[in-house]
């Protein structure tokens, strides 16, 4: 079996990439993608730990998490489309009507 440490390493790398993207990027779609990375790194952890356990709880949890991510992506992209129609851009720095 592949050792658990490698899974955790993969998950950490994915999480860091996602976080880096979240902090640096301005494009709404890119941000959504980064959030997916964060969520999926957590899913990898869940599945990996579950493989070392006698039961399937972790994998069930991961499935829930994927469904949640899909719903979140649906809402998120819908908002982005609405924003694009309104402002003609999805660069979040330009969407500042409600900021000071």
């Amino acid at each position: 079996m592949i050792p658990l440490e490698l899974y955790i390493l993969l998950a950490s790398i994915m999480f860091t990439i996602g976080l880096y993207g979240l902090i640096t990027q301005k494009n709404g779609v890119k941000l959504m993608m980064c959030i997916e990375l964060l969520l999926n790194s957590a899913n990898i952890n869940l599945v990996a730990f579950s493989a070392y356990q006698p039961n399937m709880n972790g994998q069930v949890f991961a499935l829930f998490s994927i469904a949640l991510a899909a719903a979140e992506a649906g809402v998120g992209f819908a908002i982005l489309i609405a924003l694009y129609r309104l402002y003609g851009t999805i660069d979040l720095d330009n969407i500042n009507t409600m900021r000071w």
Partner: protein, 679 residues
């Protein structure tokens, strides 16, 4: 059986209030018939109780409310008489109101408020403790405010309502203070109460008056008198009563006859033993009453508004009642019977007079007597019923007002022999003036030439019916009820555990002890055979014939003077010859002794407004000042701090991550330190 239904005496009108308020809009005539039925029900129950307990019983029901207080019903002769009178008069006024308010868009509101007004007064008279009485007292004040300001779109009505509310409030505060002082004193006595007894219940108060320090008693009595002065329109708080004419005439009739101003007199009568025991308590009552009686009568002479004449006459007659109670210093509890007799009789003829005036105003469409004249040709029924009311008010022999007023003047004479003649002189003069202004009003409204082109039609029967019934009472109540009435009310305080002689000694009435004792004896001895004017005259056999005849002369003379001036058939003098428009005395009376000017001009604008300006400056500069400074500082600080909230998601994520990193490092450092053994 009826005594078990006693709570319904208040319950029915309250129910009518709720029904009229919520459903009156959908009912014909604003649901006025509900109010009539409710008060009629209250009257029937009161009458049933009267038949059950007359002559020697009382009804007392009570339950615990909270703390030291209870709610309860106490029906003794005093409150029973009031219950009967209030519910009867109010029912008649409501029947009349069905005609009078017909077509008014606010009729439902009127009947709802009128029902609540009746409920409040009925609750007031049979409350068994002072706190409950005070609650209903305030309710009466509230309802009078609502009803005087019934046509609230009219600025003068709104102002009159406000004036009535604020003026009576002055008295109410004193009343409340008196209750608090009385309560404190009763607590200090450490009374052991039997189950079912509470501190502010009247029987408990009566039983312990003698133990309260006399100076405290005087304080309480003056506070209670203050409340009564406010509510009953005595000098100097009478100013609201003439202005209260702004409401519908039926409201004036209710306020003046049954439901409002009598509350003050009733309060003094209810607490009479306390006033009796308080040194100078009754002297103050007599002084206020006698002065008001004359003072208001003089103003009644010059008023042009028919309702204002009646209002001043109410103030004056209330003065009579107060004086009647006050001179009780000389005759003891007998004064309560005399005064209450005048109160009941007065409510009949004053309700009658107001309803007649309303009938006239309804047809003529003006309040100003200068524009009337000769109305009697078109309104026969109103004219004759009002004649009965006027004769009664003027004290014409054999009418109700004669018996009651005569009796008050008689006991004032006894008071004069025993203590001081001033109340007697004031009352006699007031009685002359009463006869004059009453008939000035009657002659100038119903006789003579038409002085303007007014509406000429008689009122409908729904309005005339109550007039006729009230006229019967205003005429016949006096000689029909006189003897039994005094006996019944004299027995009122015998139901309670107290000794009037002892109270009189506390109150400093010892110098007239023989007189008081004679009156007491007379009461007991004549309990069976009656105690009327004649019996009283024999009993004290100190009243010479000319004094006994004086009330007759006064009443007839007053009417004669009025006729000589105002009745065109026998007119000998022209009023304008005696007093021109420029006459300073006439102007002063018309202006109500400039009391309005003094009150608003000097007291309100000078003292109150000046104080208000100073308070306002302190409020703005100091109280508000530091608060405004504080809030300005907070806002400035927040203006800087809020820049942290950029609204950019990336910044928040970065801050979050930095926080996590710091947390992780801290946890790592702590656990490392623990492993090494530093902590």
């Amino acid at each position: 059986m009826y005594s078990d239904l006693a709570y319904l005496i208040v319950g029915l009108p309250v129910l009518a209030f709720v029904l009229c308020l919520f459903f009156g809009w959908h009912l014909p005539r604003g649901g006025g018939f509900i109010t009539v039925l409710a008060t009629l029900g209250a009257f029937i129950i009161s009458f049933g109780i009267f038949q059950e307990i007359y002559p020697g019983d009382i009804v007392h029901q009570s339950m615990h409310w909270f703390g030291d207080f209870n709610v309860g019903i106490l029906i003794d002769p005093l409150s029973l008489i009031m219950l009967l009178m209030v519910s009867l008069v109010v029912t008649l006024i409501h029947i009349y109101g069905n005609g009078y308010m017909n077509g008014d868009p606010g009729a439902a509101r009127y009947f709802a408020e009128a029902a609540l007004f009746s409920a409040a007064m009925l609750g007031l008279v049979y409350a068994d403790n002072l706190l409950q009485l005070f609650i209903f007292w305030e309710l009466v004040g509230l309802c009078s405010y609502l009803l005087i300001g019934f046509w609230y779109r009219k600025p003068s009505a709104a102002a009159a309502a406000k004036k009535a509310f604020l003026t009576t409030r002055v008295g109410d505060v004193m009343f409340l203070a008196a209750i608090i002082v009385l309560y404190n004193n009763l607590v200090n006595l450490n009374i052991t109460l039997n189950p079912g007894e509470y501190l502010l219940q009247f029987p408990v108060i009566y039983a312990h008056i003698a133990e309260i320090p006399p100076d405290q008693l005087t304080l309480i009595a003056l506070g209670l008198l203050g409340g009564a002065v406010g509510k009953s329109g005595q000098f100097p708080l009478h100013v609201w009563l003439p202005d209260a004419m702004e409401g519908p005439t039926t409201v004036s009739a209710m306020i003046h006859a049954a439901t409002m101003v009598t509350a003050g007199v009733f309060l003094v009568a209810r607490m009479f033993p306390l006033f009796y025991a308080a040194p100078h308590g009754l002297t103050a009552v007599a002084a206020v009453g006698a002065f008001t009686a004359l003072f208001a009568a003089t103003m009644g002479l010059t008023a042009f508004d028919i309702k204002r004449v009646l209002a001043f006459s109410t103030v004056s007659q209330l003065g009579f009642m107060m004086a009647g109670l006050g001179v009780g210093a000389a005759v003891g509890a007998f004064a309560v019977g005399v005064s209450m007799f005048h109160l009941i009789g007065h409510s009949f003829f004053k309700a009658l007079l107001f309803l007649c005036a309303g009938s006239v105003i309804h047809a003529v469409n003006t309040n100003d007597m200068r524009e009337m004249g000769g109305v009697g040709k078109y309104m026969k029924w109103t004219m004759y019923t009002m004649l009965i009311g006027s004769l009664s008010l003027a004290g014409f022999p054999l009418f109700t007002g004669f018996f009651s007023k005569d009796e008050i003047i008689m006991i004032a004479y006894e008071y004069g022999i025993a203590i001081n003649f001033l109340p007697y002189i004031f009352l006699i003069l007031a009685a002359v003036l009463t006869a004059i202004y009453t008939f000035r009003m009657w002659f100038s409204v119903f006789t003579g030439k038409e002085r303007s082109n007014y509406g000429k039609h008689e009122s409908p029967w729904v309005m005339l019916g109550p007039l006729v019934i009230l006229a019967i009472f205003a005429f016949a109540f006096g000689f029909a009820a006189q003897h039994d009435f005094y006996n019944y009310l004299d027995s009122n305080f015998e139901h309670y555990d107290m000794d009037f002689v002892e109270l009189g000694i506390i109150g400093g009435h010892a110098l007239i002890e023989e007189h008081g004792a004679a009156a007491e004896e007379g009461e007991h001895a004549s309990a069976e055979e009656g105690h009327g004017a004649a019996a009283e005259g024999e009993g004290s056999h100190a009243i010479p014939l000319h004094i006994q005849l004086l009330p007759y002369i006064v009443a007839l003379g007053g009417i004669l003077i009025a006729a000589l001036f105002y009745w065109d058939k026998v007119k000998k003098f022209d009023p304008s010859q005696v007093t021109g428009d420029k006459d300073p005395i006439r102007k002063m009376l018309l202006k109500g002794y400039y009391q309005h000017e003094i009150m608003t001009g000097w007291i309100c604008e000078g003292i109150v407004y000046g104080t208000a300006l100073i308070s306002n400056t302190i409020d703005i500069k100091i109280v508000d000042g530091w608060l405004n400074w504080l809030s300005a500082w907070v806002m400035g600080f927040a203006g800087h701090v809020r820049k942290v909230q950029t609204g950019v998601v990336q910044n928040y994520v970065t801050a979050l991550m930095l926080g996590i990193v710091v947390l992780v490092i801290a946890i790592a450092a702590i656990s490392l330190a623990m492993e090494v053994g530093l902590i």
